[in-house]
């Protein structure tokens, strides 16, 4: 299909396309409610949010992760850390909530048959009370951030409906991304929730661009305004996605990998919320106002 054909199809069906993110939003919300009613939480919290130990043994020993899990004898997560650029294994990461650090260290020493020292062993331990406080406060921070962002947008545009559309786009991005992350079975850390705050900062850029162009660039037709801003916006989104994907592949820190993954998913979701729903709402809004 040529560019103009896509454009034609897009503008002809914009009202219907606008529904797609809404459906995704409802599906995601349902998914989250089911998740919460089954597990008690909207997300799979990792040890930094529910309390526990995340430890890393720096070794190039190749191991069978299921053997390690059996050896630990409690519910655990294990992961092999590697450096993609050299293909080397950096270490093994183990996360547990039901062992204290001394017992975990002893078990790991006997499994790897090596003495764990400050040089070859990192351990991060979060008390359950602190983990819960982090969780509660970060969720609160997320809500505050959405409100502050809404106020900023409202001050900038001075019109209710387009501002609400931007806030709704941000909420949809967050909810749908969270549902996808859950679907993948990914655990969310403190940094993961911070990544959702970044989503507010990032994904909103394209929405603000679109809203400004549609409301302020009066000399073109509405469709042309949307088209021009999509060209700019998609360039923005793809540069970011490409750069972050490179990061996900090459970076050695699991914390940063996790953050990047969340932002990339959200940016993909945001393409739909911006150019289907938000564009639909704006196009309807401008036409109604004449």
């Amino acid at each position: 299909m040529s560019e103009s054909k896509i454009g034609k199809f897009y503008f002809k069906h914009l009202k219907k396309l606008a529904i797609i993110p809404l459906i995704l939003f409802i599906l995601a919300l349902t998914g989250l409610i089911i998740q919460a009613s089954v597990t008690g939480d909207f997300m799979n919290k990792d040890v930094s949010l529910k309390g526990g130990i995340s430890s890393t043994v720096y070794t190039n020993q190749e191991i069978d992760e299921s053997e390690l899990k059996a050896h630990l004898g409690v519910d655990s997560n294990t992961r092999v850390l590697g450096d993609f650029s050299t293909g080397e294994q950096l270490g093994i990461m183990v996360e547990v909530s039901d062992l204290n650090s001394t017992v975990l260290e002893e078990k790991l020493e006997s499994f790897f048959n090596m003495e764990l020292t400050q040089e070859n062993y990192s351990v991060e331990e979060t008390g359950p009370k602190l983990g819960e406080a982090f969780y509660r406060q970060l969720i609160l921070a997320l809500i505050f951030a959405l409100i502050l962002m809404g106020v900023a947008v409202l001050i900038a545009f001075r019109t209710i409906i387009p501002s609400l559309a931007v806030v709704f786009a941000a909420i949809t991005d967050i909810i749908v991304t969270l549902a996808i992350v859950n679907l993948f079975g990914m655990q969310i850390s403190t940094a993961g929730i911070v990544a959702f705050l970044l989503v507010i900062g990032y994904s909103i850029d394209t929405n603000i661009l679109l809203t400004t162009r549609v409301l302020k660039k009066k000399e073109l037709s509405v469709n042309d305004r949307i088209k021009a801003s999509a060209k700019t916006g998609l360039t923005m989104t793809f540069t970011t996605i490409l750069a972050l994907t490179a990061g996900i592949i090459f970076v050695t820190s699991p914390v940063i990998k996790g953050m990047f993954t969340i932002v990339v998913i959200a940016l993909l979701v945001d393409i739909l919320t911006t150019y289907f729903t938000n564009a639909g709402i704006l196009s309807w809004y401008v036409k109604k106002k004449g």
Binding site: T190, I200, F250
Partner: protein, 518 residues
């Protein structure tokens, strides 16, 4: 000439000004050599010779440099340690530093200086990158902020007395009114930190149920350490599952405590040991945080006496003799530390304890450069495909590079350690930066038939940039108080980063691109 025209723009000069500020604050040292002093242990040979810890505000490149020891020029940290090791005990060593010359008597294996390789710049690697221990402490009961300060003072003193000098202590509070103390220490083991910081350190010496003296300077005027004549490991014996050793050291009591000793012991009856020596019917018991550490017999001669010299004892265990001795030394140092520094004004608990190995740090940094390069290349690729013009691609990539450089300059200026959170913040700031550059470029390029001037279009681009900026800052503000202060750094670096972008690099970019395309 376009170049001359570009140099006439104030935006460009404004950018150059900030690049200069960043360069000065990073102050890269091309000839960095030797080691710097990051801390000096209390009562160590070094501190007795007049060396002092730098104040935490001293910038890394401005810290005291150790130039030579006994006229041997020091090249790096390993070299420093090997030189110190070679010097025999009880001999004098002359340390030449950037501040002066000191003569130290080496009476211990360590002379009490915590050193680091001379920094190449003022950018300090954070805990995630250089390794170390991070502890988040929280008071068990609600306390006032002045009490928090008291606790921090005791903790700092305790760590210093123990021999840990390269550290930072900060307090933080969170959204729900929780109070925290964040301690970051370079080079300490998790167990040491857990023992030193996780307990209140309430030492009590009791005879029967009467307290004779407690830890702290009010009752204890001197604690013998690092001196074999009054502090020693006495005996090691095999036990059922390993080896146990005992330690003893002497302390001096204040007059008041000595009077209490006389008062408590004066009416005690005498008992006789198998060897026939007379001892008091009750022992003196040492308690640490309510747990009995050791008990000692009291000789007849001390009954009713205002004893000012008291012997303290305890023991350590291990799988074999070597580890038992090490454990005994650790236990002794711990006990000596709390005797000197006293108990914390109220109870605290460790809520988070991270001990990070230094081995991954260097790997992460090398890798970060690679990732940065790949990220910049991929950004370059997308914008090259889209704009097909070096007049746009090169200013864009330069703008990104300058932005990162100025952010690093700010981090160095405010002595903010570069850790994972800061790196994530830089990425976040640069990410939104690229978005803005694309918006500015498209507005500049947009071919509109109407009479709207380029100036107006750039104005509109900056409207979008500012609204996007406001929403990013809005999203970061709540992080200042959520998460017990652990996320403040991320929020701060992100906000500084986007602010530099919006007020410094992007205006310069806009004016350069405008000039180039005119």
């Amino acid at each position: 000439m376009k170049f001359k025209k570009i140099l006439k723009k104030w935006q460009v000069w404004f950018l150059l000004f900030w690049i200069l500020v960043a360069a000065l604050s990073i102050s890269y040292q091309f000839d960095a050599q030797g080691v710097i002093v990051n801390g000096v242990e209390v009562n160590s040979s070094a501190s007795l010779a007049g060396m002092t810890s730098p104040s935490p505000d001293t910038r890394p490149t401005a810290r005291e440099h150790i130039i030579s020891i006994n006229d041997i020029e020091i090249t790096d940290k390993e070299h420093y340690f090997s030189i110190i090791e070679e010097i025999p005990l009880e001999s004098i060593l002359r340390i030449q530093t950037s501040e002066g010359e000191y003569a130290l008597l080496k009476n211990n294996e360590s002379v009490g200086i915590s050193v680091a390789n001379a920094p190449t710049s003022n950018i300090v690697k954070g805990l995630d990158l250089q390794g170390g221990t991070r502890v988040l402490l929280s008071p068990v009961e609600e306390i006032s902020s002045s009490e928090i300060q008291d606790i921090m003072d005791v903790l700092e003193n305790r760590l210093n007395v123990y021999g840990l000098t390269d550290l930072t202590i900060k307090s933080a509070s969170d959204l729900e009114g929780g109070e925290y103390i964040l301690v970051e220490i370079a080079g300490a083991s998790q167990e040491e930190v857990r023992e030193l910081l996780g307990s209140q350190g309430r030492f009590e010496a009791k005879i029967g149920d009467k307290i004779v003296f407690v830890g702290g300077e009010e009752d204890i005027t001197f604690v013998c350490r690092n001196d074999g004549t009054c502090s020693r490991i006495v005996a090691c014996n095999p036990t059922a599952d390993g080896e146990a050793c005992r330690f003893e050291f002497e302390i001096s009591l204040s007059e008041k405590a000595a009077e209490r000793h006389a008062e408590v012991t004066k009416d005690l009856k005498l008992n006789y040991t198998e060897g026939g020596s007379a001892i008091l019917e009750k022992q003196i018991d040492f308690y640490l945080d309510g747990v009995l550490v050791d008990s000692l017999n009291i000789g007849e001669s001390l009954r009713g006496q205002e004893a000012t010299n008291i012997q303290i004892s305890g023991s350590g265990f291990g799988k074999d003799k070597e580890s038992a001795i090490q454990n005994t030394i650790d236990e002794r140092t711990h006990l000596q530390t709390v005797l000197i520094t006293g108990s914390l004004p109220s109870e605290i608990e460790i809520v988070k304890l991270d001990s990070i190995s230094p081995s991954l740090g260097q790997q992460f940094i090398n890798n970060a450069w690679l990732v940065g390069l790949i990220a910049v290349l991929s950004v370059g690729l997308v914008i090259s495909v889209r704009y097909r013009s070096v007049k746009i691609v090169i200013p864009m990539l330069l703008s990104i590079a300058f932005e990162v450089f100025i952010i690093l300059g700010f981090a160095a200026l405010f002595r903010y350690n570069l850790d994972l959170a800061a790196i994530a913040g830089i990425i976040a700031a640069v990410g939104t930066g690229v978005d803005d550059l694309i918006i500015i470029t498209d507005e500049t390029l947009s071919k509109e038939t109407s009479a709207r001037s380029l100036k107006e279009r750039i104005k509109r681009a900056f409207f979008i940039v500012f609204v996007a900026y406001a929403t990013t800052v809005a999203a970061m503000i709540p992080l200042f108080t959520a998460g017990a202060g652990l996320l403040t750094g991320f929020a701060l670096i992100t906000i500084i980063g986007v602010s530099i972008g919006v007020f410094v690099t992007r205006p310069a970019f806009a004016s350069v691109v405008r000039t180039l395309l005119e």
